[in-house]
């Protein structure tokens, strides 16, 4: 515990075992890791390497079979559903590969969603709307507030999802293959948003991907294989903003 006392995320000897058709599948086999505030961690590894399971535990959507998970100085390994839900609501924002927006629901209503479950404080409907619109503006979608997901492009949908994840000012943003359904140009835009969030707000980002190029945007790259960490190295981030400038310049010259 001593090493992780100051870390935002500190996990020790995490294991996770699933019972699948009678046989036990070990998804995680003893993972220990510290993540400091403001890091942009890219987690890579082949499918079945346990990186998704790891992220679900980090996101308090799942509980480890054994091991400890200390989040912001609080041991959350054995908390009940109510407490874990509150942590997800307040401290963690999720961005998924499939966007996971509510269908037939306007962008602004989708973004408001976390505030509906903010049980520790009362938020009036008008304040919800104001904050949701502000979050949409932060991802450049203020003029799409009343659009439904099926009226938005993939990149726009992912930006709505990011706005939703940021609404409660979480300390951690967990992104599970956020660019998996996006073309390369939109992917760069999304990565630019992530990097700006980290630089401007100091948000800690844990990003899961199987694309090496996407992992290059992180400040630290962790490799998973067979439920264990096999590599953990610092990385000099690629700057998405510069690539956008280059693309824009190319587009202009053409």
């Amino acid at each position: 515990m001593s090493a992780g006392a100051t870390a935002l995320i500190a996990v020790r000897d995490l294991t996770k075992t699933y019972a699948m058709q009678g046989s036990a599948v070990q998804a995680l086999r003893g993972v220990s890791l510290d993540i400091e505030r403001g890091e942009f961690v890219a987690v890579v590894g082949p499918s079945g390497s346990g990186k998704s399971t790891f992220m679900h535990i980090l996101g308090c959507l799942d509980r480890p079979t054994s091991g400890r998970y200390v989040l912001d100085g609080r041991d959350v390994s054995d908390l009940g559903d109510d407490e874990l839900s509150a942590i997800r609501n307040r401290q963690i924002g999720f961005v998924f590969q499939g966007f996971n927006l509510l269908a037939r629901t306007s962008a602004v209503e989708n973004v408001e969603l976390p505030l509906l479950y903010a049980h520790d404080r009362r938020v009036s409907a008008s304040e919800r709307r104001t904050r949701a619109l502000r979050a949409l503006a932060a991802v450049g979608l203020e003029d799409r507030a009343e659009h439904h997901p099926n009226q938005l492009s993939g990149g726009q949908q992912q930006r709505v999802a990011i706005a939703r994840a940021l609404l409660n000012d979480p300390a951690i943003l967990l992104a599970d293959e956020p660019t998996g359904n996006l073309d390369s140009r939109t992917s760069i835009e999304v990565m630019d948003i992530f990097q700006r969030l980290r630089d401007e707000r100091g948000i800690t980002i844990v990003l899961i991907t199987h694309e090496p190029q996407v992992a290059e945007y992180g400040s630290r790259i962790i490799r998973f294989r067979d439920g264990q960490i096999v590599a953990d190295e610092r990385n000099v981030s690629r700057r998405a903003s510069e690539e956008i400038r280059i693309v824009a310049a190319n587009g202009a010259s053409r």
Binding site: R88, F94, L102, P114, Y117, N168
Partner: protein, 484 residues
Amino acid sequence: MMRPSLAIALRSLRRNRLQTGLTVLGMTIGVAAVLAMIAIGTGAESAIEDQIRAAGMNLIIVTAGNYKVKSTDDFGGGAVEPSAALRLLDWFMPPLLAHPEDDPMEKHDHPTARQRLGDSEAGLGSAATLTSADADAIRRLPGVQYVAEGLHQNVHVKAGEKRWFTRLHGADVRLPLIRRAWVFTRGRFFNEREQRRADQVMVLGTIAVEHLYGNADPVGRDVIMWNQTFRIVGVVDTTSTLVAPAPGDDQFDAVYVPFKTVHSLLNLTKLNDITITAASTGDVSRVMTDVTKLLRQRHGIGDEKPDDFTVTTQARQALARGGLRPDVARAVVGNVGGLEKVTLEQLGRTLDRATRTMTALLAGIAAVSLIVGGIGIMNIMLLSVTERTREIGIRRAVGARARDVRAQFVAEALTLSVSGGFIGVALGVVASMTLGRYLRWSTTFSPGAVLLAVGVAAAVGIFFGWYPAKQAAAVDPIQSLRYE
């Protein structure tokens, strides 16, 4: 916690309008059926009550004279119904042969007030012990609703060539208020002014009209009685199915004239009887006692002396005479020891038992239709849980607790059932009013029934929404988010 759940529920229900609409429809039909049943059922109840009241359960009749004093004889001569033989005779009698009563100028030998006491043992109704002043005094007693003076004679009535031997009632304008089942199929009853001026106006019972005019409208025509001309102002019939008009009956084989007209034509001051209604049926016995006390005092009857009048209730008379429909009478009589013991309370209890049986039946129908509606809700909610696992996962990921999800689904089920309930209430009102009009059956809506219907709908929603909501809360967010 309930308010955000409700807001979320409303929002997601709005998203699936068709599904929501169809489910609500199921519940609507259930609640509408329940409400219509209750309305028609209580309508039936009040119809029966009306008819029994129409048969006179709160009626008190004060008759001049006291037949109980003299002997255990039958009724005195005053209240004899025209018999079939008399009618037959009437048929063969040539019209020229005038009846003795046809002469209004005949001197009637009626006693003065001073002579009354000696007259007290005369036959029932024929004694001249009651006056309009007595009736006015009774009007001022507490608990008394309506009071109507009555004078009764058997008369010949002539319309052109046709004659009919029937019953004449010198009546008070308030009589239609007492005879609740009365309906004026043509014209109206005579009014206050006609009564005050002793006008020669007449209202005919349907049976009398049938014999004198057939199907023609008699209103405005003239009719001859006691060699005097009377103008017909109305025809009276009954809405009661318990007492059907028949030849020889006292109400519809009869003609009505203001009692003041009879008084002035025959130079009389007496009344044969006074009909009283108690404001409440439970008060009948007390009012009877008060009326007896009042009349004894007014007539100056000492403690030792018997009454010079008879106070009785229509209930007793109706049962004894068989004025009720045979099956009803049988039910009433069958449920009590003997005819003599019949009291209003016992009658009430009999009615109560019938009502309870009907209510149980209605409750059964209501339960079945609500269960069917509830199963509909459960079905749609279960389907909704499987269709919306992804939505549940998203909500869980952004911080919804398992119980938030459960509350949302319960709130959705509740919204479906309660809105179905409200629409059902509206539909039920319309349906039962239409049915009521078609079946000529009165329907009653109490706020209680409406509240009950909506409340039960809500209970059904919670009961049948609980299991699907539990399923929704148990959805694994990781699995549901993985769906593509």
